[in-house]
Each structure stands twice: as structure tokens, then as C-alpha cells.
């Protein structure tokens, strides 16, 4: 459970002492299942701070929207902290003008799993200390096991603790089991080629190209995305099989060695499309081939931007 008062106190201190110009966190949403990302500029505003397992967005996605001179404070969980490190390495914001309030994360709840059990009309969701969640809905009260509600990315999370925060509020949690992270990729790899392709087509071709996955991902900050290019038109612009497959293939591939497996893309998708099975494969390859884990610090370059002669892979014939 997060110590909300301690978080509020720290955020207020930062603003009062002028350590930062703004603190990015969450505030209560207009609907109980969706807390909204919030940008606090004064200590009074911080009273609206809310921080619970329903905060489903990766706040690092807002980092690239503010000028680099702005001093920003941000509540970061494990994946968010690593996203910030990856962005700092890519020169998107100087680390010295960032103040990261680390929060060990017990996992984000997928609101869709709540709605599946309690129906759409949810009045309130309260996390309880014994790792359960009390949901009050029009159709009655439900006490649900929190682990059953976790988003898949969080269920297999390896780095719940912030890695390079300026302060950590809350006790550190045990690191995840790497085999757990590999499980999804291994299971998918066991399928036959045609089964994998059928799954890929089934997921990709339900897309309506609203680009919520792109806008929710902190690493997608290009001024002009490859889908907006006209000459040449890399992928088809429509929702044809060619366009949809091209979009899903290349969007995920652009996150190779940059994706921190936070799952914000899947949570943002309005069509419930599965896509972490693409990025998890790429992350797993980066770990297996180059022993690289993104965002553990803000200095080691990702594999695609380093050149070494001693690669053992198929390349050197």
C-alpha cells in the first residue's frame, strides 16, 4: 500500500522549496476506475494527489512534452523510473532538472478485469491491506483478489522497485523472477509458425489505428511518426491487413532495447489488442543476445546504438 501522506508531503516540499517547477502524479478521475494524470504546480494542488493500483498510465510519456529547462518532479514506479532513464539517455530531458519520487510498485490493476466481474457501473474501488480489493458496484459489493486483477505486464514484472529515484517512499519489494518474464515469450515460441501468424493477424487486424498505444508510450515521442511519412509511404495508411500488420510490426520494433515492459500500450488500447507479446520478445532477445536491460541506469547505450565486432550471432558467417 502506498503511503499517500508521505508522498503528498514530499511533493509539497519540492514545490515549496522550489526544487521543481511542477510535480507530475495522479489525481482522482471523474469516473472511479480512471485516476487522471495530474500536473501540480502549487502545494495546495498537491492535496488532490491520488496514488493507487488503478493509476494505469506511464507518467514518463509526459516528460517529452515539456521544455528541457523545466524542473520536473515525478512519482515513478519501477517501469516509469526505467522509462525516465531511457529518455534521459536519449537526451530528452537532463537528469539534473528531474526529481524522481520512487514508489515500489505492487502492480497495476487492469480495470477491464474489474468490470468483467462487477459490471460497468462501479461506484468505488478500495484497496485493502490483505491484498484484496473491495469494489462497490450497482450490482453489489465484491471482494476480489488483487493478484487476479493485475495487468499481465505487472504480473510478470521483474523490477517493481525504482532503480535511480532521488527518494524512495515505501519499503522495497522483492525483485521479480526473470523466468516469469520469459514465460510468455517461451509459451508463444512453442506455437507453430502458422499459429503465431494467426494470433498476430487476429490481434493486429482488430486495430482501428487510433494510435493510443503510440501516445501512451513514453518512448514514442517522434515529431513525425513513420506512419505520417508520405514519400515513401512505409506502411499503408488504412486499416487494410497490410497497413495494420505494418503498423504493429514497426511500432513494436522501434521499442527494441527501449521498452521497459510497463504495459501502458495495452492498457490504453480501446480495442483490448494484445501487443506486449511483440515487445516482450524483443526485450527477451536483448537480454539473451546482448545481456541488456533497458533503463537500469541512464548511461549504458542500448544494443542498436553500439557497434562491436565480437557478436556471435548468425551475422558473422
Amino acid at each position: 500500500m502506498h503511503d499517500l501522506d508521505a508522498l503528498k508531503a514530499e511533493a509539497k516540499r519540492l514545490l515549496i522549496e522550489g526544487v521543481v517547477d511542477m510535480v507530475i502524479g495522479f489525481k482522482a478521475g471523474d469516473t472511479p476506475l480512471h485516476p487522471q494524470p495530474a500536473f501540480f504546480k502549487t502545494a495546495e494542488e498537491v492535496d488532490q494527489l491520488v496514488y493507487n493500483a488503478l493509476c494505469q498510465n506511464n507518467l514518463a510519456t509526459y516528460l517529452t512534452r515539456f521544455p528541457k529547462t523545466l524542473k520536473i518532479g515525478m512519482l515513478v514506479r519501477g517501469c516509469e523510473n526505467r522509462s525516465v532513464n531511457a529518455l534521459v539517455f536519449e537526451g530528452q530531458h537532463p537528469r539534473e532538472s528531474l526529481y524522481l519520487i520512487g514508489v515500489p510498485c505492487e502492480g497495476i490493476i487492469d480495470w477491464r478485469k474489474i468490470v468483467e466481474q462487477t459490471g460497468e457501473e462501479v461506484v468505488s474501488v478500495i484497496e485493502q491491506s490483505d491484498n484484496t480489493v473491495l469494489v462497490e458496484a450497482k450490482s453489489g459489493y465484491y471482494t476480489l483478489e488483487k493478484d487476479s486483477l493485475l495487468h499481465e505486464s505487472c504480473a510478470r514484472c521483474i523490477h517493481p522497485n525504482p532503480v535511480s529515484a532521488d527518494i524512495v517512499i515505501g519499503e522495497l519489494l522483492p525483485e521479480g523472477d526473470p523466468a516469469l518474464a520469459r514465460k510468455q515469450v517461451a509459451e508463444f515460441a512453442e506455437l507453430s509458425l502458422q499459429e503465431r501468424h494467426a494470433w498476430f493477424r487476429q490481434e493486429a487486424e482488430r486495430c482501428i489505428r487510433c494510435y493510443a498505444c503510440r501516445e501512451a508510450c513514453p518512448m514514442c515521442y517522434c515529431e513525425e511518426c513513420f506512419v505520417d511519412h508520405i514519400c515513401p509511404r512505409w506502411t499503408e495508411s488504412g486499416t487494410t491487413p497490410a497497413g495494420m500488420q505494418g503498423w504493429h510490426i514497426v511500432r513494436a520494433f522501434h521499442q527494441t532495447g527501449r521498452c521497459t515492459s510497463c504495459g501502458a500500450c495495452e492498457r490504453a488500447c480501446p480495442m483490448d489488442i494484445k501487443m506486449t507479446y511483440l515487445t516482450e520478445k524483443l526485450n527477451d532477445d536483448m537480454r539473451r543476445k546482448y545481456n541488456f536491460e533497458v533503463g537500469l541506469d541512464a548511461t549504458t547505450p542500448p544494443p542498436f546504438s553500439t557497434i562491436t565486432l565480437d557478436d556471435k550471432s548468425r551475422f558473422v558467417v
Binding site: F188, A189, L193, Q194, R196, H197, F200, F226, P232, W234, T235, E236, T240, P241, A242, Q245, G246, I249, V250, F253, T256, L278, K281, L282, D285, K289, Y290, P303, F304, I307, T308, L309, D311, S313, R314, F315, V316, V317
Partner: protein, 146 residues
């Protein structure tokens, strides 16, 4: 019955040091092999491979110089991690990894590219046509342009 496979050759224009080989590639390349000459393998963006694959290529060969012999020093190393990972990644979603091959030529080599292309073509014929991902082929070329 296996019709001749459609292949795409991304050839680094420096790697065939012998004029005879380059002449063969430029003029007598078999009908079913589409040539795309690039200034360096480092110039090949995975999107080129995707365009070839979606355009209906049954096999893609990337030929370039051996690591130390690149005309641009490290050009051929820069992209190889991306291309290799991209071929691994396409295999993940249904385009066999063996359909993408990398060929590194020594400057002294002679007559290698013809043999390698023939071997590659045989291998791809065995694998059969690649229907998966061939979605950007114009109807007139018989593509699955649903």
C-alpha cells in the same frame, strides 16, 4: 509443383570487388530475383526488409562486406544487429527466419554471389512460397490484397 520463388537481393555496391561478378549481378540476374543496390548494408533500414516481405518476397538476401573490409569502415556492422533482430522478430510473427539471409563477402572472393544465390533459391524453393505477410502485393501481381 513449386513455382520459382520471388527473391530480393539487397546488395552493397562495394562488396563485389571483381567487375565480372558486379557485371553479372547488374545484367544477368535471374528473372525472379529483384535487385536493390545500396551504398552500404548500414543503409538498409528494417523498413526496407518489411517492404520487400510485404511486397511478396519469398526470400531476402542481404550481401555486404566482411566486418573489417567495409568501404565505410563500420557501415556493415552498424545495421547488422537491427537486421538480424528484425529477421528473428519476423520469425516470431510468422515469416521463417531462414527466408532472410546475410552474405558477407571477402574482397578477394570471386564467383561466390552466383553460387550463394543459387543455394539460397533452392533453400527457399524447398520452404515454399511465403504467403504470410505478403499483403502489400497489387492484385495484378496476384497478391492477397484483401
Amino acid at each position: 509443383m513449386s513455382e520459382t520463388p520471388k527473391l530480393v537481393l539487397f546488395q552493397c555496391q562495394w562488396c563485389l570487388f571483381s567487375p565480372a561478378d558486379q557485371e553479372w549481378v547488374d545484367t544477368q540476374l535471374p528473372e525472379n530475383i529483384h535487385l536493390a543496390k545500396v551504398p552500404c548494408t548500414g543503409r538498409i533500414n528494417p523498413l526496407y526488409l518489411l517492404n520487400a516481405v510485404q511486397g511478396g518476397a519469398d526470400g531476402v538476401m542481404v550481401s555486404g562486406c566482411l566486418p573489417e573490409q567495409c568501404h565505410f569502415k563500420t557501415g556493415n556492422i552498424a545495421a547488422r544487429r537491427q537486421l538480424e533482430e528484425f529477421s528473428d522478430y519476423l520469425n516470431h510473427i510468422g515469416y521463417e527466419q531462414d527466408r532472410i539471409r546475410f552474405l558477407w563477402l571477402d574482397l578477394q572472393d570471386r564467383g561466390i554471389i552466383q553460387k550463394e544465390l543459387a543455394a539460397f533459391e533452392a533453400q527457399i524453393t524447398a520452404l515454399g512460397p511465403a504467403h504470410n505477410l505478403a499483403t502489400r502485393v497489387n492484385e495484378t501481381a496476384g497478391g492477397a490484397n484483401a
